[in-house]
Amino acid sequence: MNWLRGLRLPRADFMGTFGLPVLERSMVMKALGCFGVAVLPHTFHLTPWILLLAGIVVAWRVASLRKLLRLPPGSFFAAAIPVLVLGVAVTYGTVIGRDGGTALLVGFFCLKMLELRNRKDFLVVTGVSYALILAAVLFTQSLPMCLYLLFQFVFTTSCLVRLHGRWGERPQRTAMRLAGSILLRSLPLAAILFLFFPRLDAQLRFSPFDPASGFAESMSPGSVVGATGDRSMAFRVEFPDGDVPPQEDLYWRGVVLARTEDGMAWERIPQGVGGQVPRMGSGTDFPEGWVRYEISLIPSFQRWVFALDYPRAWPSNGEMHVGGVVGWPYKIRSRLKYSMVSQPGYLSREMTPGLRRRYLQLPKDSEITGRMRDLVAEWRRSSATDQQVLERALGFFREQGFAYSFRPGNYRRKALDTFLFERRRGFCEHYSGSLATLMRLAGIPSRVVLGFHGGEINPYGDFLLVRKQNAHSWVEVWLDETGWVRVDPTSVVAPVRLTGGFGMLEEWLGQGWLIQLAGLEFELFPPGWLPDPLDAGLETLTDRIDNLNRIWDEWLGYDFGAQVRLMRSMGVEQSPVPGLLGLMAGAGGLVLLFLAWWTWRGRPEQAPEDRYLAILCRKFRRHGIERKPSEGVATFLQRIGKRFPEKHRELESFSRDFHEIKFRLSCPDRRQRFDRIREVVSRL
């Protein structure tokens, strides 16, 4: 009975809250690992204070394991939770939706790690880790990220295996292997659900909690250049006819901004349908010089799409809005692929008295200084036409010491005046915003266009990749003789921006990649940091990865239309939703039946070592030696050895190898031992 008393005594030590066993140290370490692996993919978008909290939690937890610090009491959490919710609400403006919700989830995860004591807490940790995998794919679905998340899935599952298998001392790789095998067994069913679960999202249109990080519909100094460190994809363009326009013509039109308060910050005026650009059906022949292309757009969370300047034909569910903006019937929350036709150099003649008033609206009087008025008045006096005024303005930017800079500093009071006459440092927002304002001062209608410029041709996939760092803004000016003319003042100041794309601009400015981490900006890889051959190799590698991402995106672009096509190709002619549900139930049922058969099928074959033992027993039965039912293998072999002393050595070797294979949890030289057993049995 003493051994039982021994079990009872430590009860007070190992039983924690609610009478559940306190987690062992190794499981706390696993939970910390789970926490680190789950939070890592979110470091790129989380606000710094949440990341700081995560760092503090890890340090605190490790210190508590080393008995340097005590874990906080219950009252700490009662105070911390409201502070956390308030902090997230203030930082993100909401506590729900993708951005705020993820931040709140990570915050709660941090607090839970401090509260982690028993198995129930550990289960919460794994549940949150699974939820954070899903949250991560809402931010990016790039191939490397998806591979990482797959690893996170396996790691989290392995932690569950450890918890429920009570695997105290067994190595983590064993748990990972088992978790990987569970994943592999789960893949067929997951694939069937993925293929046939009807994607009704566009039709359902749930009330959205859309993230704030979609494409902007307004511009202020810093809003466009803020994306310079973001090398992620904005959209990908394929040209089926193979005609890629020259780099300087690659203006990807997004949204048109017409209203400004200070001349620097611009915003969109909601504009109705009614653009006067003639719409053309797709699939027809187009005049020479027109460009046909397909765009794969990441979720933009806007109701308009990008088009090469100037769109002339668009998909049937799109519609042309005032200002040459191609509108979309719903918010784009998933990847979208659409075909367009554009006519580079086309000049729109969309103008009405109402539009003229709108495009001549000036900033507040307080923002317009005397110097500005004098400057514009001087241009107007010395010019006979609007065209000449425009040329004077561009000449002003070209000749008066203006420079392109990623870090021009903040413009606060009288921003436009300070920019034009004092500091003269800025990037595309400064130049486009100021030129449009100056034109309006001169009585010429103007507007700012927000979109992208340029792109990188990928030689391996024959597509053009437009990254977020290609974000750009330019100006359109109304000239009575010609219509709306595109003017890019940035190209006057930094011509390389127009011809060489963003990469060349970085080099020209002597600046490396700017990356944003936790809201802070870091410069990586200054130009020339790699020797030329390596640089070329890196470029090739990047291109290949981009191409892989393209193929990956084709998979991710699987939508309701693709589902219906797949269904039809399988000969199902029913209406889509019942048809898909039927296929899902049928194929899923088959997989489940297979799994059931696999589980319930008869007793597995004899283990190989037992098979060899059976052969050995059969051989000696011929000599009249029978193994008794209760006789152990070692005893049996010894008995044979006494009868046949000349075989003693082989029998001993067989016995040793047999027991090693059968009873050792990990037998590294298993294969060699099997070879020996096979040899001994054949010799005997």
């Binding site: 009975m1 039982l4 079990l7 009872r8 993708r98 289960l123 549940g127 699974y130 939820a131 995998i133 899903l134 794919v137 809402l138 679905q141 998806c146 899935f153 599952t157 569950l160 295996v161 918890l163 429920h164 298998g165 009570r166 088992l178 569970i182 994943l183 067994r185 789960s186 893949l187 067929p188 069913l189 997951a190 659900l193 993925f194 679960f197 994607r199 009704l200 999202d201 566009a202 749930f206 959205p208 909690f209 979720p299 929350r333 998933s334 990847r335 998979w555 672009g557 939508d559 489940l592 799994l595 059931a596 589980t599 007793r603 597995p604 283990a607 037992d610 059968k662 009873f663 949890l665």
Partner: protein
Amino acid sequence: MSLRWTPQFKILGVLGLFMLWASINYSNNGAYFVLFLLVSTVVTSGFMAWSNLKYVEMDCDTVAEGTAGADLLLPVRIRNSGRRQIEALRMDLPGFEILESSADVGMVAANDTLSQRICLPLKVRGKFRINELIVESDYPLGFWRCRKRVPVSVEVWVYPKPEGGLPWPEEVEVDDDHADELGSHSGDHFAGHRDYVEGESQRHVDWRAFSRGKGLLIKDYRGGGSGCAVFDYQHVPSRGVEQRVSQLAEWVGQAFLDDADFALALPGHQIGPARGRNHQRTCLRALAEFEPGGAKT
């Protein structure tokens, strides 16, 4: 065998609904895939939980004895006749409370047999029956609990707790027929102790007295008659039923240790006189089942 989902499964179900909502709301194929992978993992783990217990076999002894107030250790043999080791096994006995730590079996290696002693804290006397052993596991992920029931037939005798400080009852003479049954004794009436003489048989050494540090003493029996103690329920000074039964169990235990002849008289019937382990067991079982009104448990 049966498979049931656990509370963890239900919680994950709620999480899954949130995930579905997020996938639909953001039309995100990656999110759909994560959700479906999680669903499939949960489903697959159910099959794995089943196959974990597929090759478990169990058996145990048909009779178990213990004393109320103490713990009974019930040895159960668990055999794994499969080729894979069985993980995270836990025993359960329906209708019995099991000491948590003894219910945890853990792992059974492939083609191996394990002997697990299940600890049952016994509270009341009586005769009980275990009709099935249950082995269960929520391995590998805890979303499903697989249970395997193995029919057994185990009699569990819980004897009354022996306690009470009443003096030994007066011995009575028994007739010759009974004297024959009792076997040989130089004298049948316990008359006291005398010192042990070296070379003498140890049969009548009072080991209980020895354990109390009184040295080696011989129990001296005198008189040629066949006297024995009769432990009569009716003659135990009036107290509660359980105290009386406990007192009787204490006397039965003492008599067995003293190798004395005794009889147990319960309302309506008498057992003995006799001596020895079998007689003691018969008396204790009668006491375990005893009900003042005559009903037996």
